[in-house]
Amino acid sequence: MNAAVVVNNLTKKFGDFTAVDSISLKVETGEIFGFLGANGAGKTTAIRMLCGLLLPTSGDGIVAGHDIIKENEKIKSSIGYMSQKFSLYPDLTGKENLVFYGSLYGLFGDRLKVRIESVSELLSLGEFIDRPAGSLPVGWRQRLALGAAILHEPKILFLDEPTGGVDPVFRRRFWETLYKLADKGTTLFVTTHYMDEAEFCRRISIMHRGRIIELGTPGDIIKKYNQPNLQETFISLILASDNNG
């Protein structure tokens, strides 16, 4: 099986500040990978490099078979990206938003129609698809944003805090959809602040001050530090790392 994401010593500096400090990781095709870290740890900067939106200062990597430096434009069409901000047009209906995003990815005519139907079914958008996106409760906006991100059937889906402020019922359904996508071979790269959600991932990494300080399955990491759960493990790891300078 080919790895969906491979990066080696990826680094990004902004002036004197090193936002991402020599991270290396490998994510298998169809894997759900949790990319965790405190606010300001450098997660979003790292994801932007993986998506081909930002060039690294040093290091290299392959995402969806494309070089992140030389072929960064090609990466964009092979991946889907859903941010914490759910970038939807509030005055457009759900369907209009999907048509808009679909056409950005070069989908049109029957193909676009089929994809919108398939996505609406997968996400059970139902009648909500005809309402203005801005009038939808946050859980429905989140589903719609996911729909927009997967219309073009990306090989890898990057989800940056996809469930912020979403209630447990919607979060649970959202994760059921993510599992369905992974079963079909989509690789999922997810950031989250909910440690119970992080336990839904096959493997996770924990980032702090630009570096990856832990990487493995949630179960193995919890065991390694002899903590009751991932939340306590995360907190103790960050505190220990801060105390060591």
């Binding site: 405190a38 606010n39 859980g139 919607f170 179960g219």
Partner: protein, 302 residues
């Protein structure tokens, strides 16, 4: 006398009843969590309690003071942190605090004392000259809370204060809330996080504008009807379909394992027999305690 008392509140927007006959109360020195799915009416309720929204029926009072009759008195008592707290991004941490101190007519002398106290509380001291726009998510929320605390309110109303905040900052934020509670504040906080509900003294569940139930986290967890199991099995699409086709069972993935929910199968043997009948192989099976999130989802009727 309760420090926060809400009785039979009704609030509609046109034909939509956002808050439907909700009552609850909270004592001084306690944290009450308001929990419900998106659109349940939580924000409407909190806003009307702060006098920011009219409502048709019911009474809101803080101690002996009724919201309808003495709003000015209540403003002094109340600290409110809305979901999107308006910090001025171009102002520094200290300038933001100063601005809120000005709104509450706090004297210069009082402000210099108060700000040091808040810096110590929030650990924002080293960042006092940093612009609010350059703070991390966790620090922004701590600054917003500090602004809401500038006039020493005895009652705090917080609307989902930790959304988008990492686990460590969230823990620190809650440590502050617990300290305020222990000093006698009455705190009402809405949250979508069950781990925060567990840290509260009591919680009220609301859904479609109505109060479903209330209790301590322990009482609420005990309300789960049914049984939960964890199953070690390769969670393929086929296995999930096979499990979910069994009557009386709901299977959900949980990372590398599967959780099984059943209303009536109360023993591990019941589950293993059922799985054997369907030729579903597994490496281990154990009954586990339901969590508060399971109760919440059950009450929301899936």
């Amino acid at each position: 006398m309760s420090s926060i008392s809400v009785e039979h509140i009704v609030k509609s927007y046109g034909d939509i009843v956002a808050v439907d006959d909700v009552s609850f109360s909270n004592e001084s020195g306690k944290i009450l969590a308001l929990v419900g799915p998106d659109g349940a009416g939580k924000t409407s309720l909190l806003r009307l309690m702060c006098g920011l929204l009219d409502f048709e029926r019911g009474e809101v009072s803080f101690g002996s003071i009724n919201l309808r009759y003495d709003f000015e008195e209540i403003k002094k008592l109340l600290g409110y942190m809305p979901q999107n707290f308006s910090l001025y991004p171009d102002l520094t941490v200290e300038e933001n605090l100063k601005f809120y101190a000005g709104l509450f007519e706090i004297s210069k002398k009082e402000f210099s004392r108060k700000k040091e106290f808040l810096y110590e509380f929030s650990n924002l001291g080293p960042f006092r000259k940093r612009r609010a726009s350059n703070l991390s998510g966790g620090m922004k929320q701590k600054l917003a809370l500090s602004c809401a605390l500038i006039h020493d309110p005895k009652i705090l109303i917080l609307d989902e204060p930790t959304t988008g905040v990492d686990p460590l900052s969230r823990r620190q934020f809650w440590d502050i809330l617990k300290k305020l509670r222990d000093e006698g504040a009455s705190i009402l906080v809405s949250t979508p996080y069950m781990d925060e509900v567990v840290m509260s003294d009591r919680a009220v569940f609301i859904h479609h504008g109505k109060k479903l139930t209330e209790g301590t986290p322990e009482e609420l967890t005990a309300m789960y009807s049914g049984f939960v199991y964890t199953l070690q099995v390769k969670p393929t699409v086929d296995t999930m379909e096979a499990l979910n086709s069994i009557e009386g069972i709901v299977a959900r993935r949980f990372g590398a394992s599967i959780h099984i929910y059943s209303d009536n199968l109360s023993k591990t043997e019941d589950i293993s027999e059922t799985l054997a009948d369907r030729n579903i192989e597994f490496s281990s099976l154990a009954q586990i305690e339901p969590e508060l999130e399971d109760v919440f989802i059950q009450m929301m009727g899936n």
